[in-house]
């Protein structure tokens, strides 16, 4: 098995945890921008917030508005029969944009199937994103282009992939340094997105055990949107999900997931922590799925209108708009432009989606091995012969 890297003893993680979250079993939540749009203070994270330029803040708003508009258009496309399924994100914009914008290009992201906002921050073409939901391909984009992995539909499986990837980064880094590279060579971190529902899966436990043992540079980003389809998160856990990190020996932070500034600050801190070799961090972004689990779900069957309304009052976009206007950082023109951009995006998405073509089936053979492989060649030859046995045009069938 060669040389196995054993984790160093010590409880640095625990100390960091105490420093951040405090001794008590904590329900404290990091919040900088409250629902009223006023900026509060935090001993650790205010410093991160101060670094944000006005341009970045406006960017956060524009991103959130854009992705919400995209979400609406995709939902409509599903209702028009153009997508087989859609997974709405409305309500979780701040958690996704804030965390996504905190990543750096060399970081690698493992999303669930709802991280449309993160995809936006990683420059994935949102129309490409819809290919999977239109049912014409299993993927949709090249994950290596933006270090944004394909959507994982198997609940929580991506947390294991993420830890494995992070352990790979550790090894690459060591190799680079062994070859005389600088101390910072190859520094990168991985973000594993998952939800409160997935937190009940064994995969999450296993990945956290490994990540902690190997001090892997991974940030576990849990969007607690309060529902595992219809099961409320209060049924999934008796303590704040962030507290679970303690049991694994690394810091856990609950952050207001509807506060884009706090999410950005906490994620930036966690990524630095991971990149510097201090091991994993669990972030619980406390948010709410305002819409349905998917377009095949009807949330009115398992929750009350009052609850939804109370969360609409905590809307991530409204509070940032209030703040930007109050501080004189954005004016009517800005918001009008954001809206126009959103509509333009929606129109682009609609046009492109209707034109999406099923990929050539032969492309599937190309991605089995990195290099040419005799077995694949043999199977492709068989396929060619088989498909030649039919009448008519293959292209038509593909559609």
């Amino acid at each position: 098995m060669g040389s196995t890297q054993l984790p160093a003893p010590g409880l640095e993680g625990m100390q960091a945890d105490r420093q951040i979250v405090g001794d008590e079993p904590s329900t404290e939540m990091v919040q900088l921008l409250g629902p009223d749009g006023k900026l509060g203070a935090d001993p650790v994270f205010s410093d991160y917030a101060k670094r944000l330029e006005p341009e970045q803040l406006r960017g956060f708003y524009a991103d959130m508005a854009k992705i919400r508009r995209f979400d609406q258009e995709a939902t409509a496309l599903q209702r028009q029969g153009e997508l087989a399924l859609w997974v709405p994100l409305t309500g979780q914009e701040a958690a996704q944009i804030g965390s996504g914008r905190a990543t750096q290009p060399q970081d690698y992201i493992f999303p669930t199937y709802r991280e449309h906002g993160v995809a936006l921050t990683r420059n994935v073409d949102l129309a490409e994103l819809l290919r999977q939901f239109r049912g014409i391909t299993n993927g949709g984009w090249d994950p290596n282009e933006n270090n944004f992995h394909l959507y994982t539909l198997v609940l929580a499986a991506q947390t294991l992939h993420a830890v494995g990837y992070a352990m790979g980064i550790q090894r690459d880094q060591k190799a680079a340094q062994d070859q005389g590279g600088s101390k910072d060579a190859g520094k990168a971190a991985v973000v594993a997105y998952f939800g409160d529902g997935a937190s009940s899966e064994g995969d999450v436990h296993e990945s956290m055990v490994f990540a902690s043992s190997y001090k892997a540079p991974v940030v576990f980003f849990c969007q607690n949107n309060h529902y595992a389809i219809s099961v409320p998160s209060s049924v999934q856990t008796r303590v704040p999900l962030a507290n679970r990190a303690k049991g694994y020996g690394f810091p856990g932070i609950r952050v207001d997931g509807n506060d884009v500034i706090a999410v950005h600050a906490v994620t930036e801190w966690a990524l630095e922590h991971a990149r510097e070799g201090n091991g994993p961090v669990l972030i619980e972004a406390y948010t709410y799925r305002v819409g349905a689990h998917t377009t095949a779900d009807d949330p009115t069957k398992y929750r009350l209108k009052e609850e939804e309304t109370s969360w609409r009052d905590k809307d991530p976009l409204e509070r940032l708009e209030t703040y930007l206007r109050a501080e004189g950082l954005a004016d009517d023109d800005f918001f009008a432009k954001v809206k126009a951009d959103g509509d333009e995006l929606a129109s682009y998405i609609r046009r492109t989606t209707l034109e999406l073509k099923a990929p050539e089936i032969r492309a599937s053979f190309e991605n089995v091995y990195a290099e040419a492989h005799p077995l694949v060649a043999e199977e492709l030859a068989w396929f060619e012969e088989y498909s030649a046995g039919f009448e008519g045009d293959e292209e038509e069938e593909a559609n």
Binding site: G135, D297, E391
Partner: protein
Amino acid sequence: MTVKKFNLPDVGEGLTEAEIVSWKVKPGDTVGINDVLCEIETAKSLVELPSPFAGTVAELLVEEGLTVEVGTPIISVADQPGEVGASAPTPPAPAKAAPPAEGGAAPDQNLPPMYGVLSDGGAQAPSAEASGAASSAPEAGAPAGPLVGSGPKADAVKRRPRKASASGASTAATRPTPDAPVVRSAPSAPVQQAANQTAATTAQPPAAFQVQASQPAAAAAPNGAPGVAGIGGAISGIVSRVLAKPPVRKFARDLGIDLADVVATGAHGEVTREDLVSYQAQREAEVDRADTFWTPARKPQDQRIERIPVKGVRKATAKAMVDSAFTAPHVSIFVDVDASRTMEFVKRLKASRDFEGIKVSPLLILAKAVIWAAARNPSVNASWVENADGKGGAEIQVKHFMNLGIAAATPRGLMVPNIKEAQDLSLKELALALNELATRARAGKTQPAEMQGGTLTITNIGALGIDTGTPIINPGEVAIVAFGTIKQKPWVLDGEVIPRWITTLGGSFDHRVVDGDLSARFMADVAAILEEPALLLD
């Protein structure tokens, strides 16, 4: 100008049909992309369908209230090139997105929808489709156009035919008879007769609205014949499972119909909803002819006993009653009351302009009396809570508010919705609340929330002409008042027998909370108001 049709999409995962609940547009209306067209109800939820087209509504192709299969055209929209083009740059996105006509959107001839079952073979399908072409739809279709109203291709059984080798099977195959592979149990004479009627009835009414995709015509077309005829025949002896979509299966189960008894007219011998409907109609006709309720003794004994599964409201009611009757020791007391003045009062209220259009009944006065009396005897408006402190200690929780429950017979069974914060309502407001509650209950629209949190209940058994009874307390409460019928009876007043309007009040109380003297005082207070409603002014 071109007319586009919007086919009913699958808005869930693998749904096969939906009901058009209501249209939000009408012919002639101008719609933009994503404007709401209609509301549909699927097996999963109620959803609104946004318009995929911009233009003018040409025709609604499906009536409200009809259930149609996924893929059925439901609305046609005509685009107006001039107008759409002009409006494109200005208004918000929806309109900008409009010109799908010029973009990749395929020519608008009637693309055959991409489903296993072709909708409505007759009406407006291209002529090529008449015969075997149906099985190779792509040939008839336009070049690689966008999917129209796709969703997952749930039942994509269309395959290109194999070249030479399989030709015999693919083209010439004709299914022996439409029903042969389906009705596994040999049909007896009456069933056969039903079959004929089925065919007759399905053919007629839906023509206008293109209801089910699977009409006899579609079934007759050897759609997908190659596989099904051969294989179906081969395995029919082994597998006796009848083909039907899940909603149809459920429908059959609800109606208590064995699918194997139904003559199928759908593609591949599938039983359709229409088949079921006509089978049910036939069955009902037979039942009507059946003589009486009593089953003759010559029938086997077990066929003379009807078995009704206990579920839903019946089950909930049974549980609540057992819980209440066997945990709360009930004490029931009764009192006869001269309600003549109440009757007069009700009569005056009815005539008063303030109560015009509002239904007023003695129940209103009783409700007011119960609220009044409860305030004077608060322990009747309470709960007994076991293990309230978590250590096994019980607690009596007296409610300083009145959520007044009214037992109501509804289409779904017995319900006890309550009027929240009834103590704050004026007589008129209480009358309105009672009416609203009764209307909703009768319509079967009572929501679970309306039945929660009750503090005291009235059951109006008098409505059925009953004098009195010993009601069972609604679980979670400690008192219930039964209001008997009010009728004229001989009554002794000042030593003389005279006719008066008399009623009997019954009450049951949880003796753990309410002792004899308290229940008596409470009932006496209620009775006092019925005897003299003017005391309410007190």
